[in-house]
């Protein structure tokens, strides 16, 4: 499971960084989204990987701590997703405004080579 998760995070962030460095605004926003997915998965894995374990204590069933999943990263990921989503939406608006004002989707507001 570790290998699959590590590969997923690696591929997502690699693709994200490549897209982030591209000159088109749409590529940049896709890159930022992929990176934020990678980061969210990464935060999950920081609570150590477990399977079939509950993050909450069930009444009357007090097991040793190793029998539970860490609930904190899950809460953190939720917050990070919400914030990341809002920021992506804001960037999308900005991207459209830039496209409308400059007539191009290049991140510098003008095509390469043109003055």
């Amino acid at each position: 499971m570790e290998l699959i998760l590590a590969l997923a995070i690696g591929v997502l962030s690699g693709a994200g960084i490549w897209l982030l460095l591209r000159p088109r605004t749409f590529q940049v926003i896709m890159g930022l989204s992929l990176i934020s997915y990678a980061v969210n998965l990464f935060i999950f894995s920081m609570g150590r990987l477990t399977q079939n374990k509950a993050p909450v204590i069930i009444d009357g069933e007090l097991l040793p701590l190793t029998e539970y999943a860490d609930p904190l990263p899950q809460a953190l990921v939720l917050t990070a997703i919400v914030i990341g989503f809002a920021m992506t939406a804001l960037f999308l608006v900005l991207l459209l405004a830039s496209r409308g004002l400059t007539g191009t989707d290049h991140v510098d507001g003008k095509e390469d080579g043109s003055a």
Binding site: I43, M46, I83, L94
Partner: protein, 540 residues
């Protein structure tokens, strides 16, 4: 728990409530918006001064006030903590907020919508970042601050701003991802997000976990270094600060200082002398990074052709000086860096505001045209003419000239103002560890720091003189502007603050010395935070 114990949360709650209340208010009721906004910022100033007084009553490094949100016992809940440094930063933010909001009320708040609400939300983020003692909560407050700053940067719209905003938002979104990776790694190593708790968990940590924690801290630091504009992570800054409206750019002067504050606080807390092998981790990176930043900023200043870009590079120079300053060992150096920060932040804000008025005398006709274009691009938002109702001040040109001279003295670190004292104190503390009778033993990097501090000042002087002569001493271009009191007062106030900390340098330095001593005693601060008990005792 008496009412005064709640004072520490006022800097977050007050702007939050005011900002929320301002959102539904119609844009035409400007007078109401300005009044409420100003009441909020002056309220923040009073609160910050009260916290400052409270903080200085405590002897030792323990925080003067802690606040457990939701009354959860530590380390499970989020804690706010205030000590001298926190209170000082809150006061500095409030002073800048009062000045820039007043300046914006003269005309800039009219070029777009929701300026006042966004301004308050940005204050929530900045104040929260100063107060919180929880790493993830710090992330949330950073995002609040950034989200509001995106809106403020784009205030007024227009091609230039949207393009600069695009770069600014992209860089900061990437930095936020880096922030989260750093926080996650630290949590994996230490098992806690409470800064004080992490600090206490470092000394008994196993070597494997220590490596993980150091990796996390280094990655986290990158996020703050982007914010505090270290070279090579600062190419976004001059463009976006130049594109922002002047009052917004002036307020942004505090944002680089938020990055510096967090670095200073976390670094001295986590990697204090008690941290064993990781004590002082990354210090040389800060020093070399600061030196490189200072060098690049000097070149940038020399190349700057207009006041706004020059101001942007001055922000970078100030950051470089501070980063190198906090990396120098010893309490004295930290105190000197803090003293330099006070003066340079006030002067930078004043200079950003001044650039707006200076542009106005340069070319009256062209400026009017620019303002008209601005108004058209903002879709029907019409800017009023210059000769609008309002108290004008006499001798406008003399005022502008004087302010320009004072800003120059402050930014370049020339005597007699506090910029000089700050830089001089930094140089003195950098040399303090070495035997000056044997100059060959002083390390190269110390010499480099001394030279760069002087050269950056020289570069600033050359550029400011060049631009100043071109503006003030070319007789044909004189078009005396009508300067309104509400525009002149904030600049005068900020510069008066610079003069005040120069005249009262003794008491201010004494306070900063106590601040720095407390900062270097990270363990006492951490224990002070961890000892705060929930109201009404432990629940179970």
């Amino acid at each position: 728990m008496n009412l005064l114990d709640h004072l520490i949360i006022v800097p977050i709650l007050l702007p939050l409530l005011v900002g929320a209340a301002l959102v539904p208010v119609d844009e035409h009721r400007r007078r109401l918006k300005v009044t409420v906004g100003l009441c909020s910022t002056f309220g923040l100033l009073a609160t910050a001064l009260a916290l400052l007084w409270q903080a200085d009553q405590v002897s030792g490094a323990a925080p003067s006030a802690t606040y457990l949100l939701g009354n959860w016992s530590l380390p499970f809940g989020i804690a706010l903590a205030a000590d001298r440094l926190t209170a000082l930063m809150l006061a500095l933010t409030a002073v800048l907020a009062c000045a820039t909001l007043m300046f914006a009320a003269a005309r800039w708040d009219r070029v777009g919508v929701h300026f006042h609400a966004l301004f308050q939300f940005m204050l929530v983020g900045v104040n929260g970042a100063f107060l919180t003692n929880d790493l993830f909560n710090l992330f949330v407050f950073f995002e609040v601050m950034l989200a509001a700053s995106y809106g403020l940067l784009l205030h007024g719209s227009g091609k230039q701003r949207v393009r600069a905003g695009l770069h600014y938002v992209a860089v900061n979104l990437a930095a936020s991802s880096v922030f989260l990776i750093g926080v996650a790694l630290i949590y994996a190593a230490a098992g806690s997000l409470n800064m004080a708790d992490i600090a206490l968990r470092i000394p008994p940590m196993s070597p494997a976990d220590t490596h993980l924690l150091e990796t996390g801290a280094a990655i986290l630091a990158v996020a703050f270094l982007v914010k505090s504009a270290i070279w090579p992570l600062n190419f976004w800054l001059p463009g976006s600060y130049a594109a922002a409206t002047p009052p917004v750019a002036a307020m942004f002067a505090i944002m680089t200082k938020v990055g510096i504050y967090v670095l200073l606080r976390l670094w001295l807390l986590l990697f204090s002398d008690e941290a064993g092998d990781s004590a002082g981790f990354g210090g040389e990176w800060l020093l070399y990074g600061g030196l490189a930043t200072l060098a690049v900023a000097s070149l940038g200043m020399l190349a700057a052709q207009d006041f706004k870009r020059l101001a942007g590079y001055s922000v970078i120079a100030s950051s470089g000086t501070l980063l190198a300053g906090i990396a120098i060992e010893g309490v004295g150096a930290t105190a000197a860096a803090l003293y330099y920060m006070l003066g340079s932040t006030l002067a930078l804000a004043a200079f950003f505001l001044l650039t707006d008025l200076l542009e106005r005398i340069r070319d009256f006709g062209a400026n009017l045209l620019a303002v008209t274009v601005e108004a058209f691009e903002a879709e029907g938002m019409v800017l009023p003419d210059q000769d609008e109702v309002g108290v004008a001040i006499p001798a406008a040109l003399a005022f502008l000239g004087m302010s320009f001279v004072l800003c120059t003295l402050m930014l370049t670190g020339m005597p007699p103002l506090s910029g000089f004292i700050g830089k001089f104190a930094l140089m003195a503390t950098a040399l303090a560890h070495h035997d000056l009778t044997q100059l060959a033993q002083v390390p190269v990097v110390t010499w480099l720091l001394l030279v760069l501090l002087v050269v950056s000042g020289l570069a600033g002087i050359i550029t400011l003189m060049r631009l100043g002569i071109r503006l003030f001493w070319v007789p044909a271009s004189h078009k005396v502007p009508r300067l309104r009191l509400i525009e002149a007062a904030p600049i005068a106030g900020l510069l008066l603050g610079c003069v005040l900390i120069t005249v009262q340098a003794g008491p201010v330095m004494g306070f900063l010395q106590r601040t720095a001593e407390a900062l270097h005693d990270g363990r006492a601060f951490a224990e002070g935070v961890m000892n705060s008990a929930p109201v009404g005792g432990e629940v179970n």
